[in-house]
């Protein structure tokens, strides 16, 4: 076990601060050893400064540098949350040495940290285990706030860091963070095969969900985060399927009627799937009961009705209809009655109801497309994106972040932002076209 004592103090403003967003005043520079990452979001709210030194390896041989990587990933998660500035140190704090622990926290506190995470990593063959200890270091007592253990297969090591970050967010906000989530999206240019992949919410570890060489579209996670519904042309026509990406389990056919079978949306209880079918003449919204297989039709209109999205209480469904001439966002109750129009003017598609229930995100076309949000009663529409073309909003499970696709870099890539449009972060890079993100619920 490496013992590093030199957690000495220096403040370096990170270059991670986003272009276009003014950094807060950098703290005064001191000696070497500790970096302060100030990732600034709008609104001017103060953040909690948290120290996350390299995790201490207490069992096994850390040949891959997991202790360092996990601290880095957890720190990035907390920075992404918009609630924390990470005071990252070099070296780890030795285990079972109260005096060195006290010295380290004192140094971090002197560097401006308010809290510290001590991670103890045990590598046991195929398994990896972390004990995290969260300290309040604003007083000399360095009070222990919480201790928690997490275990994962070694192959999913990054999830341990995400779990630690989510626990820290929970301890300070009362709601767990969203780092241990996945984002599914579509890879491939128009006109060629499009496959669905999934990655950690931060874009790391992309892995295939479909591999059928066909066009696969519109992935959406089930509320238990175990399956994805999507449209695929793999049988020639646009049909609806369900994949189970964490299990050795074949895809399930959900709807394969004549016409389009598209735009799946799981009810919040996971028991029903709203979708668009044109089997009865033109695109209408239906709800499939997953247990019984019964199908209920909700809309009856000569125009296009598509893209259902459930309210988080399951009582209402927002959708797109062109019944007014151009597509707008409408809301109806879950039985199809009480239809009212939420947006007007413009050209509005891709409604996504916020997990908090208070807003609906959507895409407005005005030359190019941008992501907007509107209150559920139709008031207060506001634009969140600008620059390039921006489509396909999807909410993080806490309703504080949105991911979407943007062409601002010249290719379609997936980005995330806070729900007020600030703190833009690229999640995917590279030469592929990445579109149609779906942010998973928190993983089990």
């Amino acid at each position: 076990m490496t013992v590093r004592r030199s957690l000495v103090v220096a403040l370096v403003v990170s270059l991670l601060a986003l272009p276009g967003l003014p950094p807060v005043a950098p703290p005064p520079a001191r000696a070497q050893g500790v970096d302060v990452f100030l990732n600034v979001t709008g609104g001017g709210s103060r953040k909690l400064n948290i120290a996350i030194p390299e995790f201490t390896v207490v069992a096994g041989n850390d040949v891959a540098g997991a202790g360092k990587q996990l601290a880095s990933v957890a720190g990035a998660d907390l920075t992404f949350s918009g609630l924390f500035s990470v005071v990252a140190g070099t070296g780890s704090i030795p285990a079972n040495n109260p005096e060195l622990l006290r010295q380290s926290w004192a140094e971090f506190a002197a560097a401006g940290a308010h809290a510290g995470v001590h991670g103890l990593l045990a590598l046991r063959g195929e398994r990896a285990e972390i004990e995290m200890r969260l300290y309040d270091i604003t007083t000399p007592a360095h009070r222990l706030i919480a201790t928690r253990k997490f275990e994962m297969p070694a192959a999913q090591m990054r999830r341990l860091a995400h779990k630690v970050a989510d626990e820290v967010v929970l301890q300070f906000t009362g709601e767990p963070g969203i780092a241990d989530t996945k984002i599914a999206y579509v890879v491939g240019p128009a006109g060629a095969a499009k496959e669905i992949v999934m990655a950690d919410y931060d874009g790391a570890g992309a892995a295939p969900v479909t591999r059928n060489g066909s066009i696969n579209l519109m992935p959406v996670w089930s509320p238990d985060a175990r399956s994805l519904a999507f449209t695929s042309f793999r049988q020639g026509y646009p049909d609806l399927y369900r994949a189970f990406p964490f299990e050795r389990r074949p895809e399930q056919t959900l709807a394969a009627f004549i016409g389009i079978n598209s735009s799946p949306s799981f009810s919040p209880d996971g028991k029903s799937l709203a979708m668009t079918l044109s089997k009865d003449g033109n695109p209408e919204i239906y709800v499939l009961s997953l247990a019984s297989g019964t199908m209920r039709r909700l809309t009856r209109h000569a125009g296009i009705d598509t893209e259902p999205t459930w309210s988080p209480n399951g009582r209402e469904i927002a959708f797109v209809s062109d019944r007014g001439g151009v597509p707008h966002i409408f809301v109806m109750d879950a039985e199809g009655a009480n239809v009212r129009q939420i947006t007007s003017g413009g050209f509005h598609t891709q409604p996504r109801w916020s997990p908090r229930g208070d807003m609906i995100a959507y895409t407005q076309r005005a030359g190019t497309h941008d992501i907007w949000v509107v209150d559920v009663d139709g008031s207060n529409p506001r634009r969140l994106t600008s620059g390039g073309d921006n489509q396909g909003p999807t909410w993080a499970p806490n309703g504080r972040h949105l991911a979407f696709q943007s062409s601002r870099s010249g290719r379609w890539q997936i980005y995330a932002m806070l729900a007020d449009g600030n703190a833009l972060t690229a999640l995917t890079r590279g030469s592929a076209e990445n579109t149609s993100p779906s942010w998973s619920p928190r993983l089990p």
Binding site: D136, K149, D224, I304
Partner: protein
């Protein structure tokens, strides 16, 4: 000393604003290897959902060829495989205005010609593909392409082509003919395309 609320001092110093919604009702110190599943328990692996054929509606689901997935919802006789159809020079594409699916007068004349060929060749089935340009979003364009194919089909039927010979498919914006980002290209992509196969 491990009280869940022991950090309130820290937090209150820091003005985290709306995020400070109070203390969670859970102990600070837990030893769980992993939290319980977050989602609804209803959709568990092996639940009845998987064993059920989908779509209990009046129209039998089709597309149940033997490749890949689990159950198939029914016979696929209602939908011939699109890959069996071929384009022919005699049947010309028609085009649409942005976000429209009505048949324009000039395109109606082309459809009359296409209808004539189909009536003269009654042993051919026809597949009508509906396509969109890249503007608008994928999901909506899949529906729009469906409406374009359907409008085209309805026109051919009104001109005496048997509906039973016609299959439609929407590709939305997924199969552009032209990939430039300009009106000339978009106009080419907003189309209904015809393919045939012998009965």
């Amino acid at each position: 000393m491990l009280s869940r609320c022991s950090h309130v001092l820290v937090a209150s110093l820091l003005v985290l604003g709306v995020v400070l919604t109070g203390c969670a009702k859970r102990p600070a110190t837990t030893q769980a290897a992993a939290p319980a599943p977050t989602g609804a328990a209803a959709t568990t692996p092996g639940s009845s959902a998987q064993a059920q054929p989908p779509g209990g509606g009046a129209t039998p689901p089709s597309g149940g060829s033997s490749s890949g997935g689990t159950q198939s919802g029914g016979a696929s006789t209602a939908r011939p495989a699109p890959s069996e159809f071929v384009s022919i020079a005699e049947l010309k594409d028609i085009h649409f205005d942005f976000d429209k699916y009505d048949i324009r007068p000039g395109d109606a004349k082309m459809l009359d010609t296409n209808a004539g060929w189909l009536k003269s060749n009654p042993n051919h089935l026809v597949l009508i593909e509906g396509h969109c340009d890249e503007r608008g979003t994928n999901e909506y364009n899949l529906a729009l392409g469906e409406r374009r194919a359907k409008s085209t089909m309805n026109y051919l039927v009104s001109q005496g082509v048997q509906a039973s010979r016609i299959t439609i498919i929407s590709y939305g914006e997924e199969r552009p003919l032209c990939t430039e980002h300009n009106e000339e290209c978009w106009a080419k992509n907003r189309r209904a395309h015809f393919l045939v196969k012998p009965r």
